[in-house]
């Protein structure tokens, strides 16, 4: 039996989750929500996380009904993400790891999303579309690496949608993307806008007044291209934008045409959360990885394919 606690705070969500052998025992989370028309800045976000992190940690332990002695490993987000919030969370993770005498594990945020997606959906070896406010990547596993097949050449799709929401002052509560989706449901007119796919990659900047159809079509196209290259019959969507039902619908149509299966998780797990860091930490820990304190520095740039995936063949 292996119990891992995971700390996540690379953007505006701070979450701490506990996983025991594939079971999510607790996964509390808080979101820093800014007024309409404003994005979230690193120092304010770090301040928000600082104010609540110890409370959330206590909640995670209480809701799981565990004491620190029951934990086997402390996992935290090493990167990528915003510097100040990453440091805030890493400090607490390092300190409790030492206080409780437990090994530490620095986890790649994107891999956290992937491993949580695989756990919840039980997809076997899917092509992964990772779409969030900070990242847009199409990923396929091959020989101990999560290979990045295609990605945005400028900004993430979620970032694009968030900035669009900011311009027209849509509320950020619960998230700008959610509110765009609700408004888009009532829409009926399609406006033709620049569609920018370059081979395996996409570009979202330069056009901040487009709607979902165009953006999601671009993502479906590059996912399909990656599936064709890998001969894959499964698609897994992870990341906050993955909650969007229209994206899931469009991806579903493409999958049906190819006879492939589509997997996605609900908002508890596609939005940043602590348990996904715990899950990736669980996999890494069980395959023998540990992070020494001197190497536990955080980093704003951490590519998904930098990590050696020792837990898959």
């Amino acid at each position: 039996m292996t119990v891992v606690i995971g700390f996540e705070g690379s953007a505006n969500k701070i979450g701490i989750g506990i996983i025991r052998d594939g079971e999510v025992l607790s996964n509390p989370r808080r979101t820093y929500i800014t007024p309409p028309g404003q994005g979230f800045m690193p120092s304010d976000t770090a301040r928000h996380h600082r104010a609540v992190i110890l409370t959330v940690l206590k909640e995670a332990l209480e809701q799981a009904g565990l004491k620190p002695a029951d934990i086997d490993c402390v996992a935290y987000t090493k990167g990528p993400g915003m510097g100040a919030p990453l440091v805030t969370v890493a400090l607490v993770a390092r300190t409790v790891a030492q206080l409780w005498g437990k090994p530490l594990l620095g986890v790649n945020h994107c891999i956290g999303h992937i491993e949580m997606g695989r756990l919840i959906t039980k997809a076997n070896n899917p092509t992964v579309l990772y779409v969030s406010g900070g990242n847009t990547q199409v990923i396929a596993y091959s020989e101990r690496r999560y290979r990045i097949f295609g990605e945005t050449i400028d900004i993430a799709v979620g970032n694009c949608l968030d900035r669009f929401a900011r311009v027209i002052k849509i509320s950020n509560d619960p998230s700008p993307g959610y509110n765009i989706e609700q408004m888009a449901k009532k829409g009926s007119q399609y406006v033709e806008l620049p569609y920018t796919v370059k081979g395996m990659d996409v570009s979202f900047s330069g056009i901040l007044s487009y709607i979902e159809e165009t953006v999601f079509s671009m993502l479906v196209e590059i996912t399909e291209r990656a599936m064709a290259h890998c001969g894959s019959q499964e698609v897994l969507i992870v990341g906050g934008v993955g909650c969007n039902l229209r994206l899931q619908e469009m991806m579903g149509v493409m999958c049906q045409e190819r006879g492939a299966k589509l997997f996605a998780t609900d908002e508890r797990f596609c939005i940043d959360n602590g348990a996904m860091i715990a899950q990736a930490g669980w996999e890494m820990f069980r395959s023998g990885q540990v992070t020494e304190l001197e190497d536990s520095w955080i980093t704003q740039r951490y590519r998904t394919d930098e990590v050696e995936v020792t837990w898959r063949d």
């Binding site: 510097g83 805030t88 400090l91 607490v92 390092r94 001197e294």
Partner: protein, 142 residues
């Protein structure tokens, strides 16, 4: 269980940029509360700032007493891994001697020094509060 951090010692060297530092802190009116684990011993965090006239660099030092050397080491190992966000113009050294965590800064400009010290004090405060909430450390020879 809290202690207010003194601003720069009176009587420290009067480099032109240091009064600016002190002024700015007063203007901001931020009181920094540092939580110490364990009973308050009659000891205070001590700070010192001056200009090294040979190199022209501004230096700042901070000494933080802890109830034990293992706790000082825990704080050191939590606070040392992350690099300064701004690579140039500032360097910082952390060390533990006995029960005390010592930090030594060397910077080209007062503004850069101020940002780094403020940031460090925020981080130290978080580490201390974590230790107070979830300590004491288990005896496992870490």
């Amino acid at each position: 269980m809290f202690l207010e951090v003194e601003s720069l010692n009176e009587g420290s060297s009067s480099a032109a940029s240091l009064p600016h530092f002190r002024q700015t802190r007063r203007r901001r009116r931020r009181r920094r509360r540092i939580f110490f684990y364990g009973p308050i011993i009659n000891s205070r965090m001590s700070t010192d700032g001056e200009t090294d006239h040979k190199t022209g660099k501004l230096e700042f030092s901070l000494d933080v007493p802890f109830p034990s050397s293992s706790e000082a080491s825990i704080a050191l190992r939590s606070l040392s891994p992350d690099r300064e966000p701004r690579r140039g113009g500032i360097s910082k050294r952390l060390m533990v001697t006995g029960n005390t965590l010592s930090v030594r800064w060397s910077a080209d400009e007062a503004r850069i020094l101020r940002v780094s010290v403020n940031s460090f004090l925020d981080h130290l405060s978080l580490v201390l509060e974590t230790m107070e909430t979830f300590g004491p450390p288990v005896d496992s020879g870490i």
